[in-house]
């Protein structure tokens, strides 16, 4: 007697959802076992995380603030993954968005003082999208024209982009009035992203609106337009797409313009919405977390919003238990990894079912 996986004839969305929910529960159970094994009360930990992330107005604001860049990087990764272009480089594209935003905010106003102040924010946005798109075009062009593995290239470009930022704020852009601390001068206040509702949700900036708009547009383009169909076909059945005359080269380049642009915009809203200056700590790994967001959301734009919020709860909760329980924030990372494993492992059961077979009869 042994177990085999048998292909299901139908894929039931309700079953898929149930499997996802079970995966979440199992991930929390596995996390609890891990916490217990190092002598920590898992229930108290999870509760403290929840309260820390959603307990009051300021906690909720904090969580939304964390969710914004995750939504945008999650969207960025998900469009590329739709075409099975493994963009691991949202982190670098984010960094280039940060770079372009800082460049415009720091050097634009002194160079063109006659320009209306209200123009600078849109200019920063455009600059960040262009910079992220260009950084994303490098691996796209190499893949499209030379078939160079995009995983390695996007990854290496992350390190280069982050190193470039560090060079700038340790070196030429370092604020002479910064008391020796690495970091640029602060941006002028009219280049700060305004807050959505300062009274209800403290600190939550307009990036939230941009992220929701981007989701809407992306959902429409991906599911309602011809181009979206081409991208999905290229991802699901590249041979059929080729026979249908869909250009892989053109679409690879286009998809990375969109993906890189979104990641670049994520960098813009992060720096223009929160830090208002280029400094250490701007790169918090949102580009990498975007990969988890995209995958857990099954590359669905609306799913990205939900997953980004859920992961933000986890991350903010993780920071809170550092303060309230003296536990390392890495607990959140571990839980993220576990969640990823269980969802990934559970996916097989949406398409296959387990069956017990008698030895020698499995071919029947």
């Amino acid at each position: 007697m042994r177990l085999i996986l048998e292909k299901r004839l139908d894929i039931d969305p309700r079953r898929t959802l149930a499997i996802r929910a079970l995966a979440l529960v199992l991930a929390l159970v596995a996390g609890a076992i891990l916490l217990l094994s190092v002598g920590v009360n898992p229930f108290a930990t999870y509760w403290a995380m929840l309260v820390g992330a959603l307990g009051d107005k300021s906690a909720l604001g904090q969580t939304l603030l964390k969710a914004i860049p995750l939504m945008l990087t999650g969207l960025a990764v998900s469009v590329a993954f739709r075409m099975r272009f493994w963009n691991i480089g949202a982190e670098g594209q984010f960094a280039m968005g940060v770079f372009a935003t800082s460049l415009v905010a720091l050097f634009g106003p002194p160079a063109l003082p006659w320009l209306p102040q209200a123009l600078w924010l849109p200019l920063m946005m455009m600059a960040s999208i262009v910079a992220g798109a260009l950084w994303g075009l490098i691996p796209a062009a190499l893949k499209a024209y030379r078939d160079v593995n995009e995983i390695i290239i996007t990854l290496m470009l992350n390190y280069i982009a982050i190193g470039w930022l560090e060079y700038l704020f340790y070196g030429p852009w370092k604020n002479p009035e910064g008391f020796g601390f690495p970091g640029s001068a602060p941006f002028p206040p009219y280049t700060w992203l305004p807050m959505v509702a300062p009274d209800q949700l403290p600190r939550v900036h307009w990036g939230l609106i941009f992220a929701l708009l981007a989701t809407l547009i992306l959902w429409f383009v991906m599911s309602r337009t011809r181009w979206g169909y081409e991208i999905r076909l290229l991802g699901e059945n590249p041979n059929a797409a080729r026979y249908a005359g869909i250009s892989i080269v053109r679409n690879t380049l286009l998809i990375m313009v969109v993906s890189g642009g979104l990641a670049g915009l994520a960098g813009m809203v992060e720096i223009a919405g929160i830090a208002h200056r280029l400094q250490q700590g701007i790169m918090l790994g949102y580009g990498f977390t975007g990969i988890i967001v995209a995958w857990l959301a099954r590359l669905n734009p609306w799913g990205v919003i939900g997953v980004a919020f859920a992961l933000a709860v986890l991350l903010v909760g993780g920071n809170q238990i550092q303060i309230s329980m003296g536990l390392p924030a890495a607990v959140a990372l571990v839980l993220q990894g576990l969640l990823f494993f269980f969802v990934l492992g559970g996916d097989v059961f949406t398409q296959y079912r387990l069956r017990v077979v008698e030895e020698g009869k499995e071919l029947a």
Partner: protein, 319 residues
């Protein structure tokens, strides 16, 4: 050129390259079996943190190496189970492994110290350099090659062993077969699933050893993200070496060399900002990737294992 400087650069190259070489050789085994594991960074980190913690508490660095080996194999087992048994996408599963490994190693690093405290900043037993009498006095290569730590000496054996195993033994032939033509290998009576599990775990174990070399010999002690992206460079090196252990040595020497030269240049006080020198290995990887991809097209015989990244399911034979 100054001989003393050359010798010191060569010695530093070999020290810096050891952990990379362990991880690269391990991933060559895994990818030769047809399994792509992008989780090297996470596996190395787990090897580094468990190895150091074990050595610290037991006072025995060798025991730390054993535990790092097992921790790496355990991480490899997760990837094998997800991607082979549960048929998860190998790319995504590998990424998950890295994220998990980064998080768990950081968590353990703050909990496995004395009294449940942090490991960061502690000093524990480590492998010091043991000059080999006679050989280490050879001119030029004596000091760089034969005044190293135990784990570096061990890799001197692992590389030729890997080459011999892959190309000159029956199990090595089976290994290459399941990565090139799993269906044919299955028909010949080779257990594809079992061997893929085995080599994914072996790859993880060797990555774990690479991590242990960092925390127990190269920079003794534990710091978060001690690997600093070496796991990802190993992924690139496997491609650079065209899945050949002997060529991996060349690649590692090149990468380790840049690293070593960079430190020397910083010490001498060049005008090039250190951030730029730090980027050299990454730039080089990109250049190598572009070059190798062109070369691979010219010569099919040295390309990637044909079934790399493709799951194998026995019951779904081709139609």
């Amino acid at each position: 050129m100054d001989f003393a400087l050359l010798i010191s650069i060569l010695a530093a190259t070999i020290r810096a390259g050891t952990s990379l070489l362990y991880a690269t050789i391990g991933e060559i085994y895994t990818e030769r079996a047809g399994v792509l594991n992008l989780g090297i960074e996470g596996m190395m980190l787990m090897g580094a943190v468990t190895g150091f913690a074990t050595a610290y508490h037991s006072g025995n660095a060798l025991l730390g190496v054993v535990v790092a080996f097992m921790a790496g194999a355990g991480m490899g087992l997760i990837h094998a189970f997800l991607s082979i048994t549960l048929r998860a996408d190998q790319v995504v599963s590998g990424l998950a492994l890295t994220i998990f490994g980064v998080g768990l190693s950081s968590f353990l690093g703050q909990r496995l110290g004395p009294g449940g405290g942090a490991l960061v900043g502690l000093q524990g037993p480590h492998f010091s350099r043991i000059p080999i009498p006679g050989l280490s006095e050879l001119p030029l290569i004596g000091d760089p090659l034969f005044n190293q730590d135990l784990l570096t000496y061990a890799i001197y054996f692992f590389v030729p062993l890997a080459t011999f195993y892959l190309y000159r033994t029956r199990p090595g032939l089976n290994l290459r077969a399941i990565g090139e033509a799993p269906r044919a290998a299955d028909a010949m009576g080779v257990n594809v699933t079992r061997l893929r599990y085995l080599y994914t775990m072996l790859g993880g174990a060797l990555a774990g050893l690479g991590g242990a070399h960092l925390s127990l010999a190269y920079t003794p002690g534990w710091t978060e993200n001690i690997t600093g992206g070496r796991g990802w460079i190993a992924v690139a090196l496997v491609i650079f070496s065209l899945w050949n252990p002997a060529r991996a040595v060349l690649g590692v020497l090149l990468f380790g060399g840049i690293n070593a030269i960079q430190f020397r240049m910083q010490a001498v006080g060049t005008t090039i900002p250190p951030q730029f020198l730090n980027l050299l290995p990454y730039l080089l990887t990109i250049i190598v990737m572009i070059a190798v991809t062109g070369y691979e097209k010219l010569s099919r015989s040295v390309g990637a294992p044909a079934a790399l990244g493709q799951p194998y399911h026995r019951e779904e034979r081709g139609l």
